[in-house]
Symmetry: C2
Subunit: 119 residues, 2 copies
Protein backbone atom coordinates (compact mmCIF):
# COMPACT_ATOMS: atom_id res chain seq x y z
CA UNK A 1 0.00 0.00 0.00
CA UNK A 2 2.71 2.39 1.05
CA UNK A 3 6.02 2.11 -0.76
CA UNK A 4 7.95 4.49 1.44
CA UNK A 5 9.29 2.38 4.33
CA UNK A 6 9.83 5.29 6.72
CA UNK A 7 6.30 6.56 6.12
CA UNK A 8 5.09 3.01 6.64
CA UNK A 9 6.86 2.69 9.96
CA UNK A 10 5.46 5.92 11.28
CA UNK A 11 2.00 4.89 10.19
CA UNK A 12 2.34 1.52 11.89
CA UNK A 13 3.41 3.09 15.16
CA UNK A 14 0.81 5.82 15.06
CA UNK A 15 -1.98 3.43 14.15
CA UNK A 16 -1.36 1.68 17.43
CA UNK A 17 -1.65 4.78 19.58
CA UNK A 18 -3.80 7.13 17.53
CA UNK A 19 -7.53 7.10 17.83
CA UNK A 20 -9.45 9.60 19.82
CA UNK A 21 -9.25 7.62 23.06
CA UNK A 22 -6.35 5.23 22.64
CA UNK A 23 -3.65 7.24 24.40
CA UNK A 24 -5.74 7.78 27.49
CA UNK A 25 -6.90 4.16 27.58
CA UNK A 26 -3.26 3.10 27.48
CA UNK A 27 -2.36 5.73 30.04
CA UNK A 28 -4.76 4.17 32.52
CA UNK A 29 -3.83 0.59 31.75
CA UNK A 30 -0.15 1.45 32.09
CA UNK A 31 -0.79 2.24 35.74
CA UNK A 32 -0.53 -1.52 36.07
CA UNK A 33 -3.85 -2.62 37.50
CA UNK A 34 -6.12 -4.66 35.23
CA UNK A 35 -9.35 -2.80 34.62
CA UNK A 36 -12.85 -4.00 33.88
CA UNK A 37 -14.89 -2.64 31.01
CA UNK A 38 -17.02 -0.43 33.20
CA UNK A 39 -14.07 0.73 35.24
CA UNK A 40 -12.56 2.10 32.04
CA UNK A 41 -15.85 3.74 31.19
CA UNK A 42 -15.88 5.48 34.53
CA UNK A 43 -12.31 6.70 33.97
CA UNK A 44 -13.28 8.04 30.54
CA UNK A 45 -16.64 9.68 31.22
CA UNK A 46 -17.15 10.91 27.68
CA UNK A 47 -16.34 7.78 25.71
CA UNK A 48 -19.18 5.79 24.17
CA UNK A 49 -19.50 2.05 24.73
CA UNK A 50 -19.01 1.55 21.07
CA UNK A 51 -15.69 3.40 20.86
CA UNK A 52 -14.35 1.78 24.01
CA UNK A 53 -15.07 -1.63 22.54
CA UNK A 54 -13.61 -0.78 19.15
CA UNK A 55 -10.41 0.69 20.53
CA UNK A 56 -9.88 -2.16 22.94
CA UNK A 57 -10.33 -4.65 20.10
CA UNK A 58 -7.73 -2.87 18.01
CA UNK A 59 -5.28 -2.76 20.88
CA UNK A 60 -5.92 -6.44 21.50
CA UNK A 61 -5.29 -7.15 17.81
CA UNK A 62 -1.90 -5.47 18.11
CA UNK A 63 -1.21 -7.50 21.28
CA UNK A 64 -0.79 -4.31 23.23
CA UNK A 65 -3.69 -5.15 25.49
CA UNK A 66 -4.77 -8.51 26.90
CA UNK A 67 -8.41 -9.42 27.42
CA UNK A 68 -9.36 -11.93 30.07
CA UNK A 69 -12.91 -13.23 30.33
CA UNK A 70 -14.13 -14.69 33.60
CA UNK A 71 -16.94 -17.10 32.74
CA UNK A 72 -19.51 -16.07 35.31
CA UNK A 73 -22.81 -14.31 35.65
CA UNK A 74 -22.81 -11.37 35.52
CA UNK A 75 -19.91 -11.33 33.07
CA UNK A 76 -16.55 -10.02 34.12
CA UNK A 77 -13.86 -9.00 31.65
CA UNK A 78 -10.52 -7.56 32.59
CA UNK A 79 -8.18 -5.61 30.36
CA UNK A 80 -4.48 -5.26 31.08
CA UNK A 81 -1.36 -4.11 29.35
CA UNK A 82 0.87 -6.81 27.85
CA UNK A 83 4.63 -7.06 28.06
CA UNK A 84 4.77 -5.88 24.50
CA UNK A 85 2.39 -3.05 25.27
CA UNK A 86 4.77 -1.86 27.95
CA UNK A 87 7.33 -1.07 25.26
CA UNK A 88 5.03 1.83 24.36
CA UNK A 89 5.30 3.31 27.85
CA UNK A 90 8.33 5.56 27.23
CA UNK A 91 6.77 6.91 24.04
CA UNK A 92 3.45 7.65 25.69
CA UNK A 93 5.25 9.25 28.61
CA UNK A 94 7.28 11.48 26.27
CA UNK A 95 4.16 12.46 24.38
CA UNK A 96 2.41 13.28 27.61
CA UNK A 97 5.26 15.45 28.86
CA UNK A 98 5.69 17.23 25.54
CA UNK A 99 1.96 17.83 25.27
CA UNK A 100 1.86 19.28 28.76
CA UNK A 101 4.68 21.69 27.97
CA UNK A 102 3.08 22.52 24.64
CA UNK A 103 -0.27 23.59 26.07
CA UNK A 104 1.48 25.68 28.71
CA UNK A 105 3.54 27.31 25.99
CA UNK A 106 0.46 28.12 23.97
CA UNK A 107 -1.31 29.61 26.98
CA UNK A 108 1.74 31.78 27.60
CA UNK A 109 1.68 33.08 24.02
CA UNK A 110 -2.00 33.80 24.33
CA UNK A 111 -1.48 35.73 27.54
CA UNK A 112 1.29 37.77 25.91
CA UNK A 113 -0.96 38.67 23.00
CA UNK A 114 -3.74 39.82 25.28
CA UNK A 115 -1.21 41.89 27.17
CA UNK A 116 -0.11 43.61 23.96
CA UNK A 117 -3.69 44.40 23.01
CA UNK A 118 -4.17 46.49 26.13
CA UNK A 119 -1.01 48.50 25.50
Amino acid sequence: MQKNPVQCQFVAALDSIVGKWKPIILYHLLQGKPLRFNELRRLLPDITQRMLTLHLRELEEDEIVKRVIYPQIPPKVEYSITEYGRTLAPILESLHQWGKAHVERKQLKKAENEQNETD
Copy 2:
Protein backbone atom coordinates in the same frame (compact mmCIF):
# COMPACT_ATOMS: atom_id res chain seq x y z
CA MET B 1 -13.56 21.71 25.17
CA GLN B 2 -11.84 18.84 26.95
CA LYS B 3 -12.04 18.80 30.73
CA ASN B 4 -9.65 15.93 31.27
CA PRO B 5 -6.14 17.43 31.43
CA VAL B 6 -4.29 14.24 30.57
CA GLN B 7 -6.48 13.65 27.53
CA CYS B 8 -5.92 17.27 26.60
CA GLN B 9 -2.15 16.95 26.78
CA PHE B 10 -2.10 13.87 24.62
CA VAL B 11 -4.32 15.58 22.10
CA ALA B 12 -2.10 18.66 22.02
CA ALA B 13 1.01 16.59 21.42
CA LEU B 14 -0.59 14.35 18.83
CA ASP B 15 -2.15 17.27 16.99
CA SER B 16 1.34 18.52 16.33
CA ILE B 17 2.62 15.31 14.81
CA VAL B 18 -0.48 13.57 13.53
CA GLY B 19 -1.76 14.18 10.08
CA LYS B 20 -1.17 11.83 7.24
CA TRP B 21 2.14 13.39 6.23
CA LYS B 22 3.36 15.32 9.24
CA PRO B 23 5.71 12.71 10.70
CA ILE B 24 7.52 12.19 7.44
CA ILE B 25 7.74 15.90 6.72
CA LEU B 26 9.32 16.36 10.13
CA TYR B 27 11.55 13.35 9.58
CA HIS B 28 13.04 14.99 6.51
CA LEU B 29 13.35 18.45 8.04
CA LEU B 30 15.02 16.96 11.10
CA GLN B 31 17.88 15.88 8.88
CA GLY B 32 18.91 19.50 9.35
CA LYS B 33 19.03 20.95 5.86
CA PRO B 34 16.39 23.57 5.01
CA LEU B 35 14.19 22.35 2.19
CA ARG B 36 12.31 24.18 -0.51
CA PHE B 37 8.67 23.48 -1.22
CA ASN B 38 9.38 21.44 -4.31
CA GLU B 39 12.22 19.57 -2.66
CA LEU B 40 9.75 18.34 -0.07
CA ARG B 41 7.34 17.38 -2.82
CA ARG B 42 10.02 15.29 -4.45
CA LEU B 43 10.79 13.59 -1.15
CA LEU B 44 7.08 12.82 -0.67
CA PRO B 45 6.02 11.70 -4.14
CA ASP B 46 2.43 10.96 -3.18
CA ILE B 47 1.52 14.11 -1.29
CA THR B 48 -0.68 16.69 -2.96
CA GLN B 49 0.32 20.34 -3.10
CA ARG B 50 -2.68 21.17 -1.02
CA MET B 51 -1.80 18.83 1.84
CA LEU B 52 1.84 19.83 1.85
CA THR B 53 0.83 23.48 2.18
CA LEU B 54 -1.76 22.76 4.87
CA HIS B 55 0.55 20.63 6.98
CA LEU B 56 3.42 23.09 6.70
CA ARG B 57 1.09 25.92 7.79
CA GLU B 58 0.01 23.95 10.84
CA LEU B 59 3.58 23.13 11.78
CA GLU B 60 4.48 26.78 11.33
CA GLU B 61 1.56 27.78 13.52
CA ASP B 62 2.94 25.55 16.28
CA GLU B 63 6.40 27.08 15.73
CA ILE B 64 7.80 23.68 14.94
CA VAL B 65 8.76 24.74 11.43
CA LYS B 66 10.14 28.03 10.22
CA ARG B 67 9.25 29.48 6.82
CA VAL B 68 11.67 31.80 5.07
CA ILE B 69 10.65 33.61 1.91
CA TYR B 70 13.32 34.89 -0.46
CA PRO B 71 11.77 37.77 -2.37
CA GLN B 72 12.84 36.93 -5.88
CA ILE B 73 11.47 35.71 -9.18
CA PRO B 74 10.87 32.85 -9.42
CA PRO B 75 9.86 32.61 -5.76
CA LYS B 76 11.99 30.64 -3.32
CA VAL B 77 10.72 29.48 0.05
CA GLU B 78 12.70 27.42 2.50
CA TYR B 79 11.35 25.39 5.37
CA SER B 80 13.46 24.36 8.32
CA ILE B 81 13.00 22.92 11.77
CA THR B 82 13.02 25.36 14.70
CA GLU B 83 14.81 24.97 18.00
CA TYR B 84 11.47 24.17 19.54
CA GLY B 85 10.71 21.70 16.78
CA ARG B 86 13.89 19.85 17.63
CA THR B 87 12.40 18.94 21.01
CA LEU B 88 10.18 16.59 19.05
CA ALA B 89 13.15 14.71 17.64
CA PRO B 90 13.46 12.06 20.38
CA ILE B 91 9.74 11.33 20.22
CA LEU B 92 9.74 10.99 16.44
CA GLU B 93 12.82 8.81 16.64
CA SER B 94 11.18 6.53 19.22
CA LEU B 95 8.04 6.29 17.14
CA HIS B 96 10.09 5.45 14.09
CA GLN B 97 12.02 2.71 15.87
CA TRP B 98 8.93 1.25 17.49
CA GLY B 99 7.03 1.31 14.21
CA LYS B 100 9.88 -0.47 12.45
CA ALA B 101 9.94 -3.23 15.05
CA HIS B 102 6.15 -3.42 14.97
CA VAL B 103 5.88 -4.04 11.23
CA GLU B 104 8.62 -6.67 11.44
CA ARG B 105 6.77 -8.33 14.28
CA LYS B 106 3.54 -8.38 12.30
CA GLN B 107 5.26 -9.87 9.27
CA LEU B 108 6.72 -12.57 11.48
CA LYS B 109 3.28 -13.46 12.84
CA LYS B 110 1.91 -13.57 9.34
CA ALA B 111 4.68 -15.92 8.20
CA GLU B 112 4.03 -18.17 11.19
CA ASN B 113 0.36 -18.42 10.35
CA GLU B 114 1.04 -19.31 6.76
CA GLN B 115 3.46 -21.96 7.99
CA ASN B 116 0.76 -23.48 10.19
CA GLU B 117 -1.70 -23.58 7.32
CA THR B 118 0.58 -25.87 5.32
CA ASP B 119 1.00 -28.29 8.24
